[in-house]
């Protein structure tokens, strides 16, 4: 599906309200900021020799656009996607459809364990379409996903 030229390329999409990371409900999401998370991701990507593309949006439509763009890149090189749909996780059929429409490995991540929260947050409409889901490890949810993708994309 993808042509394994050059380094693998991994997009990371942070969903709504993740721009407030560290400031918002720190007892659930921790006290480190999105910048700190992105820095950790970049450091790991450098080690793994993966090119990283980092995005954040509060807009469902923008997130769908960014998921779709991965298709274009995937026609030229090896591509993976890490997505934290946050509040859209539990309702967005449209993001589910977008993920279904790209033929690349997609991993859904959550900072907290959604099974340990209120019932409204147990289901994942978007996760239905992903290869796998990692939840509950804080920043490490993303880092584990990136390690897995890097290995898979260079296999």
């Amino acid at each position: 599906m993808s042509q394994p030229s050059a380094r693998p390329w991994v997009r990371v999409i942070h969903g709504p309200n993740l721009n407030l990371l560290g400031a918002r409900e720190p007892e659930i999401y921790g006290s480190r900021s999105l910048d700190a998370l992105n820095t950790s991701l970049r450091e790991l990507a450098a080690q793994l020799d993966v090119e990283l593309d980092l995005r954040q949006s509060n807009h469902e439509g923008q997130i769908i656009d960014w998921v779709q763009e991965c298709r274009r890149v995937a026609s030229q090189r090896s591509v993976g996607l890490i997505i934290n749909p946050a509040g859209y996780t539990h309702t967005s059929v449209a993001i589910q459809d977008a993920i279904r429409g790209v033929s690349i490995p997609v991993i859904e991540v959550h900072l907290s364990n959604i099974y340990g929260r209120e019932a409204l947050r147990h289901s994942s409409v978007t996760g239905v379409a992903c290869a796998g889901v990692i939840m509950g490890f804080g920043f490490d949810s993303y880092l584990l996903a990136l390690k897995h993708l890097a290995a898979e994309l260079t296999r």
Copy 2:
């Protein structure tokens, strides 16, 4: 409600992920592209002497804006709307409200028969506010809707 001056004007709104038509899940949605669909619609519109306005967006808010704009046009001429809300079909109260807010004939269309898919996709929150719904005929869902609107708007 509308002044029947000049040719009828019909807006077609393609919802999220329909820009990937042909490439995404072709076993469900077929292998022809959105451009092909739009070409078919334009050809039919020419035959029916209807002015066509074609839009696609992955953004729920953008779709609401476009639905609302039909009000303005409808103050001057005969207007109809064909909408495929795709993934927003099953959850968007806001698009339902937007359709409720325009006093023009609105037809909801789906390429596939949503009753034949998973339970999540059987309901239509947006269709509640439409005049009619056509589903399951691929491109023809749109073309049938356009034929019906053209006839109704020139009646």
Copy 3:
């Protein structure tokens, strides 16, 4: 599946209480009679060069028999079915099975938009097995279905 000898043959099955069309709840179903509807269908069929077979029954079993008979005709010529299961739409697994058992294009139609009515009428057990569904256009729901079938059967 069918041998395209001669003109296509389309059966139309009107389900329970449609014999009262025009007299019953005209604010929902309109004030024109079933005869008027059948006349419209015959006129369109003549234009489209399609042979039409029109039926109405209040009996679920009779409707199943009529659906099944299409198999026999389909062994000799090109056959389609338009069905309005009316009150049986929401509960009849047996009609669903009958539709599943014929290998011809079947279109479910409704005069009114069932999503716009009470919750009991939102689901379609029979529509699950159809190729497509058209609802909300009054007589035109049937006429659009016939146009679509005629085109498909002569393709």
Copy 4:
């Protein structure tokens, strides 16, 4: 309840769409016809010295009539009933009531295992009133039922 004069008498009622057996959805129901099934039943009945009465209908009311008729016969000899209510299994309170109204052993049979199909088909409204249920063995569902009834009626 019944007077054990002469050979036992067993009615078999095949519900809606079973007349299409072999032709309809063979991946679920197999490729042998209803005639073949009836022939197997007749051969086994001859071996077991049971008189057989075979019926098929797509009409719920007809099936109720046939269930009720067993009462009359049961006043004179030993009677059993094998019923496959097919699509009516999941909704017919009226067939349940009819079975409740006859004081003879009634066995519900299904060719396929209804627990292995979609959720809609897991329940059995009619089976609530039967002595037992056998499902999933194709023709053998009927044959096992007949063997059991023959033994029970001559006990």
Copy 5:
């Protein structure tokens, strides 16, 4: 709606399995037969100077036909309908639609109190469209309905 010429005319429709009255589940339905019930109804009708038309069927479609026929009679004289839909009470949208389609007073009756039975039998899909419901009085459920209709039709 009706022309009050001559005596009022009341149709009574006994639904599925009521032909077995007295023989079937007497602990629920009592031990007197349908003939006895009809005799009681005829006697009361004579006293009330009402013409009676008594029907029983196990067929949902037949019941719908009979409900619809009341329309024709109602164009010439004062008409009422007493219906015991029995097992169809809880599921038949089609009988509900038929009742909706006649513009005469319709009373639903049940021999037993359906609220006192299993949950499946608490709802009434058909009763939704009736003027009133009387349940739990055995034969008197019918007789009370007849008295009420006679008074209403001659008012």
Copy 6:
């Protein structure tokens, strides 16, 4: 249970808000007052030679007290109860228990057909414990109940 000395005694309990009858939501409950209803009941009772005891309360506990009192009277004469629990119909397990605790015939009545109203009002927790239910006939719901009780208590 009761000693058939003297005339039968029938208590009628009007539940909450029935004191406003005629003034409150007349499109549902009619425009005649509770006094008018009680007058009709008294007139009919006189004809039937039944002693009547009429009560109204908005208090669930008061209604339970009044139901229970029937036990004491029933030790000396023939007693029946007509109850319209109004808003308590759908939730009061305590009134259900009170009715269960008296061994006399109890009839639940409603002015309107509760199956024809919003879903919240379809169930009857109190009716579960009654002999029968009459609904939808306005004042006649009570009068039919009284006729039935009078006949039953003097049988």
Copy 7:
């Protein structure tokens, strides 16, 4: 949390379709426009010596951005938020999260009483995270909220 320098600052966010106020479904939302509402709000704010920031968007993501921005302002002065999430009220976990992420008083308002509308509109996913909710008073829902906020912010 906020530094009470200068006048309090209150943002008002009007959600989807509120730009059509007065034109859309006036029997529910009244016939006055959003401009009229904003004018009323500005007049009251002037009286109360509150700085007002008025916004309207059909885009869920835009609304989340605007909710988040209040944090920044709140670091320098006393800030409150009035939000009418309209169609997003019933489904948006993402707006709930945004409200959770700002440490200022947030009041949800609705022009109509959502408990008095269809079941779909009874719940409030966004209201879960607000301090309070005011619904059913038309323009006054906003004005009452503003009065309360002004008092609270200057306390």
Copy 8:
């Protein structure tokens, strides 16, 4: 409906357990007493030139009686009602009916935001019949309601 003679009259009904205000669960309801609340209401009423009638009861029936009494007063002067049904909010169809039966403006208030509490407390059976609902502002829920009513009643 009301004759605007003299000052407007507003009844305030505090439902069950509100007599314990300040002592009971202060983390939810605050630490000020019902007397303090009533004093605040009286002070505001004096400013607004509104006559106030303050009541508290733990009895559902008493609350219904008090709601109904407003009708009598309303025949002579301008009347409004503020009601906090407390624990009866979520189940009382009888109070809903009582509110439906008075033709005056009724406002439901809650000290806490019921959407922010356990699921059992999210719905409002009584609020369905009110003009508006104000929740979450402690004493101010009542005061805002009184301000609104005073303005409306003198309009």
Copy 9:
């Protein structure tokens, strides 16, 4: 919370219909009367040196009043409450709130095992707020509760 002066004081509240104990549904509740139960409680209280206050009411509001009164007594001595809310167990949020509002040990008791009865009676809205629940032991449910309270209050 309580001052351990003098003997502990325990209130026992018997809910609706318990005044009929022994007479009502003896197969569920036994054949001994409420007087017998109270005598047993008094005898045990004497042994345990506990002052007993026994109450019965069919009125939800009265029960709430009695629960609240315990607060006053508890300011002067050691207080406990045994409550059998009977039919109010499954629905009364108001009694739950009253129990929440007293800071004394409260034990809910039932004569029968509510898990062994119909589904409607499995839940306990009031028990949510109690320290413990004892059910299924007839009179002993109360006596065990009293023994436990006596020990706890003198600890």
Copy 10:
């Protein structure tokens, strides 16, 4: 899958509490013991020339082990499994998975008709993975299953 050397081998697994057969709830399960059932099975197996392996356990894990062991035997000869999961029928995803993991014919049996029992017992989580289900025939449920397996394994 299996090598048809030698006689077929059929394992029978009796689930929890079946060791008490005959002693436990004889009105449901009959009065004959598990030994008697096993004797009947052995006699029939001898007639059918099938080797029988009989097991009973109350331990879910033990049952899973025994299901899995069939795989090993199946590599050498023709193997079938008859399983009555008893109380584990309705909840055990783990036994379902075990059945899914063996590629041999598996028949689920029940002594009683589970559709005729309480709602909790209508579903079969384990039956979802079986070839067929036989219920309601007492010992004959097993014997019919054995006959079917013997025939199938020697086909």
Copy 11:
């Protein structure tokens, strides 16, 4: 059922995770160990002259075995069972069946009040089959049960 020779014999079964008592979630279950609980039980048994048999297992099957063993003992002496099924309370139909299969008094106990915990823990599948349930009293839940059993077994 049991022969009252010698002292009564009472088995106590502690279900899964109770071996960790005191160490696990002490805010719910208290800080004393299972040994301490067993010591308390033994002391009380000595006072009551009851022989005690104490067991703990995390294995559902083991618990069923132990319940069943009570039958054997019960054939020779007076036997009772106290069971805390812990995590198996809410799902184990198999333990329910085992309890149903022994004809001795069985009391279910819980240390905490399960109605006061999360919804998942409100139901009791096992308690359905017990004589009574005691919950919420910590160790005293067991001790009260033992006192009750001792009295009942020596009655």
Copy 12:
């Protein structure tokens, strides 16, 4: 909580049917065996300098025992747990309680993405009590969990 002496110790518990890995449903679980998985885990553990303890059981009770044992080890060194509860994931409150009872980091893993399977498998009763969940990566689900634990335990 743990004393960081020596190397960290990680237990891995493979739940029911995982001993059949590679042989059972390879389209879901892959074709490599449990031995292969354990070998991968051991190799990684060696690299990470972690002591590994590998277990598999089909017995729920055994799994609980093994979870509990981690407590003992944790009193002496740094301990983590990786658990794949397989079929017990969706129902086992007892395993949830066991996990709650150990104060060590616990990670739930699944080979497949349970959100992508049938609805029955979407929920995780056991995952509610874990720190995090990793699903959908085949063997890598375990390996990622081990990497995370190793890092966390040596932090």
